[in-house]
Symmetry: C2
């Protein structure tokens, strides 16, 4: 018998979401049954897609059920196993949710190596965010050398990988980030050719100056004003990968495009995607990402909240851009 | 020496365009020189893309030059030739412009047969509008049997072919057209499963009722309110072919999307295209279209204005939807 702490979705947001939509619970976990694995989570991943799951709307995934443990990626250690595929001491990634321990039938768990990368990297650049970056950049934008790729949320878990992959492909990478510290980091550490602060009063002018040759690829994580401004700078045959619209989804407001005519006049392709629907590319993507990270060609950064009870505040902070790099919660 | 009448772009529109932006001129044409062909135009094609060419904006094509003959597709008869590829009496399609006669080096001319289809069909279903329909439907929407394809300007030169090709592909075809006569024609003659009148007071509700299974493919010719309403009915993995935004471009107002989040939540692909940039598919498309028309599987309808001086009014009438089917000007 084990005391488990978990966070469930207590209510659906009406308008802006907040910590009051979650509830911390203490429950008792039994021993793993036949075929089951008991995992102690070391890290919980916080990701923007979770905001969408809180709604009961017509969306790309089944809504998170009320009073169920909140969905989330986890990395942890097997502490008991009655499943022949896993042994005590194995480290695994899975979708264990916002809780300290999870019982699993093992189907959603994958063993990871503890010898190379830090285990939490499997929730970031060699996990779902990294593959998201890889898919949107390579399968939708497909940048050619010399083209310009604009990346919003440029230093986040996804954006930071997009920018570095774009540079590795020979493209000019321009980022949009919140505040001078992130913009400086984007250029000095991640290798962006330029990064524009969307909180600066001259944002629109600065963005225009940073895009002297327009935009050939746009990796959209945010929506809102940055997307509207980018629409005015699209080049012929530009590709837009719509990965997230977090700016608008956070508080339930809509993300508008005042004039979509560039889609026609510039023959633009705009495509939304969900990386979990493209499992065929994960092995290739993860292999390439691990190689880039191992060789130092892709860098990443983390913001780590301590303890499960810190997860809601860290989550809403991330939606407002208060994180710097991949947002994690350390659970042990 | 030959008296030629032509219409030139006299000024660029500021806001709504009108006949005052054109000027009718009488000029004298010389004899064709070495390599040249003299063509007497029988029909001039009027098409929505011409509205975009009137602007001096950053657009997909070089703007129409001021004081030059207005661009336009033509079909006509060679009445004198000093070009070995053409003989007197040949019928040709080309981009002869808004004029009764044209001198050409022959590079833009293609000979057509006068034995099968009426010659003006080469400006419609077996010409640019037909290939536009074919490309957007087959290369962007690629409908599967049982899917729903929504077509705006459903009875126009492009839309009428889209709807019939969609039905031939086994899809459910739903049209949007202006007025009960066009809607009735769409269903009874073109084979649409349903057609909704965008001028009717219950347009939004009627459109919803006509789309019980949502939208898998949207062939967008118009923009404006129909596009906004369609955005709310998109199914997962819907494809949007953006062929025209004539409703908004006519008077220079923008076509807005108040909420683009369906692009993400429904993983939508939205793509603008210009058929003249896809010359590789023209032979296949024209072959298939001619076969369908010859076998009676694709029907079409024309609105014919008489005489060159009627072209400006017919053009602006078409932008307002006053035409019924392909808008032509008969010149002889």
């Amino acid at each position: 018998m084990l005391e488990n702490q978990r966070i469930v979705l207590a209510s659906r947001p009406t308008g802006a979401a907040g910590p009051e939509n979650f509830r911390l619970e203490n429950v008792t976990l039994g021993e793993p049954g036949e075929g089951q694995v008991l995992v102690r989570h070391h890290y919980l991943s916080l990701d923007p897609y979770m905001r969408g799951r809180m709604n009961d709307s017509r969306s790309y995934a089944a809504a998170q059920k009320l009073d169920d443990v909140m969905i989330g990626g986890t990395v942890g250690e097997v502490i008991a196993s009655h499943n022949p595929r896993f042994a005590k001491g194995d480290y695994v990634v899975g979708m264990g949710g916002w809780q300290n321990f999870a019982l699993s039938d093992g189907k959603d768990l994958q063993k990871i190596s503890t010898s190379g990368l830090p285990i939490q990297a499997y929730l970031g650049p060699v996990g779902m965010p990294g593959v998201t970056a890889w898919y949107g950049l390579n399968k939708i934008i497909a940048p050619k050398a010399g083209e310009t790729v604009l990346v919003s949320a440029a230093t986040g878990a996804v954006g930071s990988v997009v920018g570095q992959l774009a540079r590795l492909a020979g493209a000019r990478a321009v980022g949009i980030a919140g505040g001078p510290a992130k913009c400086q980091y984007a250029v000095s550490q991640l290798g962006y050719d330029a990064c524009v602060d969307h909180r600066a009063p001259d944002f629109a002018d600065a963005l225009k100056r940073a895009l002297p040759s327009g935009i050939d690829g746009l990796f959209e994580n945010v929506g809102g004003l940055p997307l509207q401004l980018a629409f005015r700078r699209l080049n012929p045959f530009a590709r837009i990968a719509v990965c997230g619209l977090v700016a608008s989804r956070y508080d339930g407001t809509a993300s508008a495009i005042p004039d979509i005519s560039p889609i026609l006049t510039m023959r633009v392709k705009m495509e939304g995607f969900i990386v979990s629907e493209h499992l065929d590319i994960w092995p290739q993507a993860l292999g390439e990402l691990a190689a880039h990270i191992g060789a130092g060609r892709i860098k990443y950064r983390e913001t780590i909240a301590q303890g499960l009870e810190a997860a809601p505040a860290a989550f809403f902070g991330m939606l407002k851009g208060e994180n710097f790099g991949k947002q994690l919660v350390k659970l042990v």
